[in-house]
Symmetry: C2
Subunit: 159 residues, 2 copies
DNA sequence: GGTGACTTACTCGGATACGGCGTGTCCGAGTACTGCAGG
DNA sequence: CCTGCAGTACTCGGACACGCCGTATCCGAGTAAGTCACC
């Protein structure tokens, strides 16, 4: 099991936007340059964030990405699910109903125990991420870092 | 993020072994047949379980796989980590130290907040799986299922 | 001077190649039983 | 009848192809500002 690196990029980008004043807009070039990321590839992930309603995008000059909601209302889970998808990491294929000792479907009234345990773990993981917000992360950064981020965002603000 | 299907197979196989009397041995052919799985591929995962010390393998006739410890002492996490590896799903690449606004390493005394949040979620996931054991699952199965499993294991017990 | 359209430069969005890991399979090394020959 | 040995059949273990999704990139569609001609 491995998370896409796009998750790290996306969360950091969201936090960066959250450090500026509300409504701060930054182009993908600006975002990629801040962290030294490949611009074209980062764009792919930003697009996913737009589709999921985490970011809002505007085209043309003065365009770019901004948070679609107040940073305090965007959970880390929102960002992760935007990139990785909302599907659970574990998918039960009901192998108990296959093979020579297949259990007839009518006997499978209870959900597969293995499935339930894996889903419980998945829920715990999501619940942990749901409890942390982008705004919380941005607010917890050191004043020096926040100051530098705000300066960069202001400099590269689309004219 | 997606878990290998080998996880499902491995957990079910461990549970199957746990349904028989302690020390029950089953060959990969027996295990694969029970669930209708491709024997050659299942073998790959069983090998991982042996490497991780979850199962114990013996060669030759009367050989096969058996649980390396009492089923109550084998957690679901043990099986999952055997197949998926113990590495965390999220790996922090310290992108805050890269790009035009790179934070000097000497200022990074605190661990990256994003990393900490992701690791917390990962820990919650693992903790959830660590609390459930193979033996617990086997004991919770319905008597009919357990009886059928025991019968199959006895029938296919290596002569 | 004001206004309108045009040019332009910048933005995002979808479509398109490449590569690594999970998926799937095979054959070889090792072992315990089985049958037989010899004592 | 007992014993030793060779053959055999079954087991696991490592090495070898294939396919899909993450990785990485590009070019086209759209937009708003700036500019210039015209009124």
């Amino acid at each position: 099991m491995k998370l896409s690196q796009g998750v790290e990029w996306s969360v950091h980008c969201a936090v960066l936007l959250a450090q500026g004043p509300p409504g701060t807009v930054a182009s993908r070039r600006t975002l990629a340059g801040f962290y030294g990321l490949p611009e074209a590839y980062l764009a792919k992930h930003l697009k996913s964030l737009v589709r999921s309603g985490v970011l809002h995008a505007t085209s043309g000059p003065r365009g770019g990405f901004r948070l679609a909601r107040p940073a305090a209302e965007i959970t880390v889970l929102d960002v992760v699910e935007a990139v990785e998808g909302e599907a659970s990491a574990f998918v039960c294929t009901e192998i108990r109903q296959r093979g020579v000792c297949a259990i007839p479907a009518e006997q499978c009234v209870r959900r597969c125990t293995v499935d339930r345990i894996m889903q419980d773990a998945d829920d715990a993981w999501r619940e942990s991420l749901r409890g942390r917000t982008i705004g919380e992360i941005a607010r917890g950064l050191s004043p020096e870092v926040r100051e530098r981020s705000r300066g960069y965002l202001a400099e590269n603000r689309p004219a």
